[in-house]
């Protein structure tokens, strides 16, 4: 059997693959966090909860309404995004202009409330979501077996991240977003409805989290705490990548996923804290983050 550093290649590549899967979700979630933080200046602690809600919405669509995976990939982000929009309009908006701490506490409270509601209704146990028929099966890569669905998740997440990046960095809409991030008052004076933009941005960011949840449903158990266990790592990713940096969160998300996977191979006991060790190092050496601009 082929080995690398004394580790069978199949084990190594298997962990890298798991790392890429996790990294894909880190990237999708930290991307949304970065967009929201960039424009709204809100540290959206409810992001993991929206991811969890997305998974449940997708599961619910299938279970109660017979709506399958593909339509649910469209419906779930819309439903979660709409919920986010209502939350922004009715509550979050009131806290702009106050200290960060207030919006952080509000979104933290929302996360707890959402988790509580879902635990109350569905219990703490996990629900499983079947892999859609069109994505069942396994690719035999020779040195490892790659389930089709996992390959799809990696490719689809990368594509979504790329589209989001292009949208923000290369289009007129993105230019408005970047400008409003820099100087919302002037952008308003130019005749652009910035409050509406904030609502839509929040909706898009949490919609993205919902989409990630829908994509995660066939891989992980759909359970009320699936978001809270993830969100802490995602925050570390955002800090490492640099608050508000779009490309930073995407690259860092994937990188850390893989790094985590590799640590599992070489130093299993440390794998759970890899991300945080990296975070501490980055904070010490480059406080603005790997991709962040010093202010």
């Amino acid at each position: 059997m082929t080995e690398l550093f004394g580790v069978p290649l199949a084990v190594l590549s298997g962990q890298v693959m798991i790392g890429l899967i996790n990294g894909s979700f880190y990237a999708l979630l930290s991307l949304g966090l970065a967009i929201i933080f960039g424009l709204l200046n809100v540290i959206n602690f409810a992001h993991g909860a929206f991811y969890m809600v997305g998974a449940f919405v997708s599961w619910g669509l299938l279970t109660y309404a017979g709506v399958g995976y593909w339509p649910s990939l469209v419906l779930t982000p819309l439903i979660v995004g709409a919920f986010g929009a209502v939350f922004e309009r009715t509550m979050l908006r009131r806290l702009y202009g106050l200290d960060h701490l207030f919006s952080l506490l509000l979104t933290f409270g929302l996360a707890l409330a959402l988790e509580g509601v879902f635990r109350w209704i569905y219990g703490a146990g996990g629900k499983s979501y079947p892999v859609p028929p069109s994505l069942q099966g396994v690719y035999n890569l020779g040195f490892m077996m790659l389930p089709v669905y996992r390959a799809w998740v990696i490719v689809a997440s990368l594509a979504i991240c790329l589209v989001a990046w292009v949208l923000i960095e290369k289009t007129p809409l993105g230019a408005r977003l970047r400008a409003a991030t820099e100087n919302p008052k002037l952008v308003t004076a130019f005749g652009i409805n910035v409050p509406l933009m904030l609502t839509l941005t929040y909706a898009a960011g949490v919609g993205l989290a919902g989409l990630a949840g829908a994509m995660a449903a066939p891989i992980y158990q759909v359970s009320p705490n699936m978001g809270s266990s993830l969100i802490v790592i995602v925050f570390a990713v955002v800090v490492i990548g640099g608050m508000g940096s779009i490309m930073g969160s995407i690259v860092t998300g994937l990188m850390l996923g893989v790094l985590e996977g590799l640590t599992k191979v070489f130093f299993p006991t440390a794998s759970a804290i890899t991300v945080f060790i990296v975070m501490i190092l980055v904070l010490l050496l480059r406080p603005a983050g790997l991709f962040g601009k010093d202010k």
């Binding site: 230019a175 408005r176 970047r178 400008a179 100087n183 308003t188 004076a189 130019f190 005749g191 652009i192």
Partner: protein, 234 residues
């Protein structure tokens, strides 16, 4: 007598708790270039900010073509045809020159084409992909004016466009202003450079401690120079 486009009466304004405008009264007629003169800290910039909706805590009245600016939502003011060129120029560092130019939405017909803008400010030609804030100060000022012209607005609030610029650039901006005036734009200009102001303006108001305290027609300026110098502390 040309109609009054901008009628400001007893305008007061606050930054938070700090009361900085104490009753500003003046008007601007169609096609006029009117300046606000005054020492540093007199309230000229604040007056423009109050009109553009950037300063939100205001009282009194400000009518543009009969529309009440103070009750217009801030993102609707531009749609009344008002273009704002702020003192700090407000060129976005995360946007290219082209993106800066295309950022403000077109609010009505008659906006300038990019070609016409390049003809007015040749310096901006061929700089599309440059980061906005990489331009020189003078070029940033041109870009700040240019992006407003694209929108089709026809009244411009222009805050110290010549501040800190080399004489050749000041001259270019002066020429551009004269062109705008010929094209029928109405301009409210804040200016410290009296020579520049005299070259383009029809009337001048003097602002002192958050109030308009005097007014001069440009024609009679030579006769009132002593008085004006005393106001400006020159």
């Amino acid at each position: 007598m040309a109609e009054i486009r901008l009628q400001v009466s007893a305008l007061e304004g606050w930054y938070g708790e700090s009361h900085v405008l104490h009753g500003v009264t003046f008007d601007v007629k169609r096609g006029e270039v009117v300046t606000l003169l005054g020492r540093n800290g007199a309230g000229k910039t604040s007056t423009l900010r109050a009109l553009a909706g950037v300063m939100r805590k205001r009282r009194g009245s400000a009518l543009l073509d009969g529309h009440d600016l103070l009750s217009t939502p801030p993102h609707r003011v531009a749609h009344l045809g008002l273009g704002f060129v702020p003192e700090e120029r407000g060129i976005f560092s995360s946007l290219t020159v082209r993106e800066n130019l295309m950022l403000p939405p077109v609010v009505r017909q008659g906006g300038w084409s990019v070609d016409a803008i390049h003809e007015l400010f040749p310096n901006l030609k061929g700089r599309d992909t440059t980061t906005g804030t990489r331009l020189s100060g003078g070029e940033q000022q041109m870009l700040a004016i240019a992006r407003i012209l694209r929108t089709g607005c026809d009244i411009i609030l222009l805050d110290e466009p010549t501040e800190g610029l080399a004489p050749v650039i000041v001259e270019q901006i002066g020429k551009a202003l004269v062109r705008l005036k010929e094209k029928g734009f109405t301009v409210l200009l804040v200016e410290q450079n009296l020579n520049f102001a005299r070259g383009v303006a029809d009337r001048h108001y003097v602002v002192e401690q958050g109030r308009v305290v005097d007014e001069f027609a440009n024609d009679s300026l030579s006769a009132s120079m002593d008085q004006l110098n005393r106001y400006l502390g020159i």
